[in-house]
């Protein structure tokens, strides 16, 4: 292997358990709020969300369109542009070179340049379409490498080849142009590019959404492999619960800008507690046989729509769509509260009964 990525932070492999390592998180998002400034007042896109990302851990950030999952990630990495503004919170980062935690939100533009790629890297949604069509893969990879690392041309080329090895693309493809690669290959090139600076945190925003399932499976294998090999923290933003079930250690479920449930992946899929999380799982078709056996021939629907949040909440944002909603839910927003036997399971609901799920 030609890259320093083969020099991993030791991560205890706990079979069947989460890859969560104890200690200080790589990224610690605290009470982060993001609003979109509009002529008609602020729209709250992210509402006091707290998430920790540990080395060697894959956190799945799930929610439907408009839940604020991408905005949260872009807010935490200082990628938002007007009219989006961060209205509260802190985001502490502690990585390889940054030994004492810094608040990402306080960094200057110059300091941010030093952070990006080297500490935190992002693969954006539909990134595979972001490759420059008139440059070959070699030039695009070496551009990034030389912009962020003090290396010679020769070293950059070696490094680019090593990055392609990491994502399972033959080195001969360095000479290829984007149009000569399939969607899956272009997505892998984008992941390779994100790894150029050997980041400690990788954010993947819907990395497999436009891909076929067989290609998706290949990409997820690569992510799994990278996690165990490099010990990176990975934040995986997706709307696909199957992807999360496959690869995440922990899940954060977002609804209307807020974190409504967070749990170990096994706990959440076994018995989701928030009615929205339960609704999302119930809306999946799963196995037809299992459905018949469970007597659930129809899919569970979640009636209504995601609200647009302008005024501060005086109720649970999900209450209008919730079958469990009571008077309490309509007058007071629930706070995120630990629940269940494990201390890492939390839910923001006044009626967090666990729901048995139909087997997939």
């Amino acid at each position: 292997m030609n890259t320093d990525l083969g020099n991993p932070v030791p991560v205890p492999a706990e079979p069947g358990g989460s890859g969560r390592s104890s200690g200080v998180p790589v990224l610690s998002i605290r009470d982060l709020s993001v609003a979109y400034r509009t002529g008609a007042g602020d729209v709250r896109a992210v509402d006091k969300v707290t998430v920790d990302l540990h080395a060697g851990e894959v956190v799945g950030l799930v929610g439907e369109s408009g839940s604020g999952k991408s905005t949260l990630a872009y807010g935490a990495t200082r990628l938002l542009r007007a009219p989006a503004v961060i209205t509260s919170g802190t985001v502490h980062y502690q990585g390889r070179r940054v030994r004492t935690p810094v608040d990402v939100l306080e960094l200057s533009a110059d300091q941010l340049v030093g952070m990006r790629w080297r500490e935190i890297a992002i693969v954006f949604q539909s990134a595979m379409n972001a490759l420059n069509p008139v440059l070959n893969i070699h030039d695009q990879l070496t551009d990034v490498i030389r912009a962020h690392l003090p290396v010679t041309r020769r070293e950059a080329t070696d490094k680019a080849a090593g990055l392609l090895d990491l994502v399972g693309i033959p080195r001969t493809r360095l000479r290829s142009y984007p149009h000569e690669l399939s969607g899956g290959m272009r997505q892998r090139v984008m992941i390779a590019m994100a790894l150029a600076g050997e980041p400690k945190l990788l954010v993947l925003d819907e990395p497999t959404t436009a891909l076929d399932v067989t290609t998706q499976a290949q990409i997820l294998d690569i992510v799994r492999d990278l996690r165990s090999r490099t010990g990176m923290a990975i934040l995986l933003i997706t709307h696909d619960l199957g992807v999360v079930a496959d690869i995440a250690d922990r899940i954060v479920v977002m609804y209307a800008g807020a974190k409504v449930e967070e749990a170990d992946v096994y706990d959440l899929f076994r018995a989701p507690r928030h009615p929205y999380a339960a609704g999302l799982l119930g809306a999946l078709p799963g196995s037809a046989v299992a459905r018949r056996e469970a007597g659930q021939l129809r899919l569970a629907e979640i009636p209504g729509m995601v609200p647009v949040l302008r005024a501060p909440l005086e109720s649970c944002a999900f209450a209008p769509r919730c079958q469990r909603a009571t008077d309490q839910c309509r007058v007071q927003p629930p706070l995120l509260t630990p629940c269940g036997p494990a201390d890492d399971h939390a839910v923001a609901c006044f009626h967090p009964e666990p729901v048995a799920t139909v087997p997939a």
Binding site: E64, S65, S182, G183, G184, M185, D212, V213, T214, T215, Q216, A217, Q218, L220, D221, H239, D240, L241, G242, V243, A245, D246, V265, Y266, F269, R270, G279, L280, L281, G282, A283, L284, P285, G286, S287, A288, V289, R291, R298, L299, A300, E301, I302, M305, T357, P359, A360
Partner: protein
């Protein structure tokens, strides 16, 4: 007439490519045959480039197939003259994938839904209105949306409008091309339940095109799996999902992650390597042979014929399956 409502036989569709790229022919669909019974939902499942949308377009003759026949209720629609085709089209309607681009942004919902009625019937204005209103009610939308423009509606509501437009003439066949893949899961669930309900109450047949196996498993009576322009396996929903026989179907099912971490992570990880071959130069023999772990010389030399593997019409095209069957 009894029997199948739609019979597609040896359907082939080639597109000529630009001269600059070699002047080849893209063989999008290669000899596809299937039938859809009355009141049956057939799922056509495949990945990008498998030819599933092209099949759908040939069935409604939005494309003129290069070869083969499409027999709808006893008439070969690949040969009927334009005028006759127009009459027939009232009886088969389409729902498209993107609920944003498939509705005219300047038309009210009432006009969008009424358009097929005005195009195909001599109904009075009052009758047209009544039919549009009924169609909107049928898809579970409040009458108020009739006066709205598409941009005022959510994605799920728009897809319901698309469905209302397709069903307003009470067609015998609905061709639905990925109607739920642009929707969030909770919205998708509503549309899938609605499609199942409407099929039961109205009794239409449906060609349901999707890349999502779980959606096909939920909705379809039978499923055909398409790879590189050819059907590789077809069977009843229960047989195909419980006992997939073709290596491609098997790997497709294995690659779709189950929303259950215990079962998902306990699965054997048989992956197809590589990517589908080019439609311009499909491999000789079985289309899957360059990627198939079971391929041998015969798979390269000779295209497999269908082998029937059950009494319920479960068929697959694979030399290995055929050898197994004849060995028994």
């Amino acid at each position: 007439m009894t029997g199948a409502l739609l019979e597609v036989e040896r359907l082939t569709m080639e597109f000529r490519t630009h001269r600059g790229t070699g002047g080849g022919r893209v063989q999008a669909v290669r000899g596809v045959s299937f039938t859809i019974g009355r009141g049956e939902i057939l799922g056509l499942v495949g990945e990008t480039g498998s030819g599933k949308t092209t099949v759908g377009k040939c069935v409604v003759r939005l494309l003129n197939p290069s070869a083969g026949t499409v027999t709808f209720d006893g008439q070969d629609i690949t040969r009927v003259p334009r005028g006759k085709l127009r009459q027939l089209r009232a009886r088969f309607q389409m729902v498209f994938q993107d609920p944003y681009s498939s509705l005219d942004p300047r038309m009210t919902v009432a006009r969008i839904v009424a358009e097929p009625v005005r195009a195909h019937t001599a109904d009075s204005v009052t009758e047209v209105r009544a039919k549009a209103a009924k169609a909107i009610e049928r898809v579970g939308l409040p009458p108020g949306v009739l006066q709205r423009l598409p941009h005022e509606l959510s994605g799920g509501q728009r897809q319901r409008v698309g469905l209302a437009r397709a069903l307003v003439l009470e067609p015998q066949l609905l061709i639905a091309d990925e109607p739920v893949s642009a929707l969030d899961v909770s919205v998708r669930a509503g549309i899938l339940n609605l499609l199942a309900d409407l099929q039961r109450s109205m009794g239409f047949s449906c060609l349901f095109i999707t890349h999502d196996l779980s959606v096909a498993e939920f909705l379809c009576d039978r499923v055909a799996v398409l790879y590189l322009g050819e059907i590789v396996e077809v069977g009843t929903r229960d047989e195909l999902f419980a006992d997939p026989r073709h290596p491609y179907t098997q790997s497709l099912l294995a690659a779709a992650p189950l929303p259950d971490p215990v079962r998902q992570r306990g699965r054997a990880g048989a992956r197809l390597s590589g990517e589908p071959a080019s439609n311009v130069t499909p491999p000789p023999g079985c289309g899957l042979n360059p990627r198939c772990p079971l391929a041998d010389d015969r798979c390269v030399a000779e295209a497999p014929a269908f082998t029937v593997v059950s009494a319920f019409g479960h068929m697959t095209r694979c030399h290995r399956v055929q050898e197994q069957q004849s060995g028994q």
